[in-house]
Symmetry: C2
Subunit: 320 residues, 2 copies
Amino acid sequence: MKLKMMYSFLNSDLTIIEEALEETVQAESPLLHQASLHLLKAGGKRIRPVFVLLAGKFGAYDIDKIKNVAVALELIHMASLVHDDVIDDAELRRGKPTIKAKWDNRIAMYTGDYIFARALELMTEIEKPFAHQILANTLVELCIGEIEQIKDKYNFEQNTRNYFRRIKRKTAILIAVSCQLGAIAADVDEEIHKKLYQFGYYVGMSYQIIDDVLDFTGTEKQLGKPTGDDLHQGNITLPVLFAMRDERIRERIIKVQASTERDEIEQIIAMIKESGAIEESLLVSDRYLKKGLEILNELPQNRAKKTLRDIAKIIGKRKF
Amino acid sequence: MKLKMMYSFLNSDLTIIEEALEETVQAESPLLHQASLHLLKAGGKRIRPVFVLLAGKFGAYDIDKIKNVAVALELIHMASLVHDDVIDDAELRRGKPTIKAKWDNRIAMYTGDYIFARALELMTEIEKPFAHQILANTLVELCIGEIEQIKDKYNFEQNTRNYFRRIKRKTAILIAVSCQLGAIAADVDEEIHKKLYQFGYYVGMSYQIIDDVLDFTGTEKQLGKPTGDDLHQGNITLPVLFAMRDERIRERIIKVQASTERDEIEQIIAMIKESGAIEESLLVSDRYLKKGLEILNELPQNRAKKTLRDIAKIIGKRKF
């Protein structure tokens, strides 16, 4: 079952979100408008808006209000991707040229800043100070995560603790906060929106680990970039850390740098896949997912809860 | 009289601001902390915090509350400088190596993002939704201004209207909003905080025009970068636009590019200085300043008002 079919009852609201996304990035500046639209049209799973909306279903769901949060969080995610592409020197994102490839790094940086400022504008529609505090804290963590990622590049001495802390900041918190802020915008009680945060956090961790596994198991067509690109760029992910326990593989991996030949990268990918590191990583992902599902059990019964469960399960099995 | 002596009655509060600035940029990540601190220690006039505090004096001044706004606005200014340096490929800022020169562009980008996120965190202490709306709109304008600046680089067909719109977005709005948000944080009435915005806007325009004049009239030592660097980098400012009315100067200027020899730049600087464009620009700056001072007349009498007047006048005459 496809992800999108799972929340077909949200379809009309997701169309509203999609329109609001386009409307929001409209700018007097044609350059900004084009760059933002380019990014928007590249697609994406819109996972964060879906979580915002579903979390809102636990309270007084009002699409006119909650759409601001949904759009804001997707935009923040998009802004972080644009800045990410500057860092990673990435030419492709989702199979399409990145903003930095199509324009340049400077345009990419300010397009990110602009999209981000637009997101903040939308968030001001939510007149709850602690919603803004939650978001601001999230942004700080996100930035620290990004800097840590730069610092940890090609650092083969890091351990799984570094990795988990980094993906928490880089990915899991924003998904957690999508759930929480969706609930807060719908006036959900603290006890419940905190549980939704927890759910989002566990699912987010699982999601990122699978993303990092797919970097090795996906095809170039599925990934929209070469297999093993994360490793080649120096991003040390869970499968790499697990595989490096084997001294023979470790010796090869620690020599990886940006200039390493494609042939060598492919041999290393094969070794990692044979080492059991993929399966081990998936087990960790499953463990996070299971914790997320347990939290869901503590939430009131409704259609959104069933959908969150289905989505979480699909995330745990996704192939790309 | 020096700028700092003018607001000596704010000294103890400005010390609090300085400490809060340092405290705010503290980060678990040593890299982020060092880069932020490097920026902070490079100094700056702290004009925005001074305006925030002085505007706050028109209402219920509470340093514990208002300091959040003062620090936030200085940090937003700093964050925009860091991103600016990435764009401008600047090696020096205030005579010290820029973050991008000392570390690299990627660190500079995320240090900017981080400082900015910290600013937002502080702002959440102000529990007034429309303060956040004002700030978010400002950030959008700031980004559009930055993108326009990139787009308009080495574009010798632009006119003074482009220039004024750009410096409004790039500089004047943030100073205007410093005044307005300082007042709002001190519960000042709408009529007054809007006038303070207007005052800040006019002073900000005047300030930026003088900055652009100093690029030609200042020495390398005063500026902390070579004279005429803006023009060399392709930033077309008011003196340039005025000087280009002379066809003979225009012919030389439109050939300027990043690779232009220093000798040619110096000859053009001399031509611009001889053309009367400097004096004409200063007249425009004076006109803005006069409008700002007129707005002040409409505000209630107090010590802060007197100081705002003195600062505005000094800004109109500053040499660097």
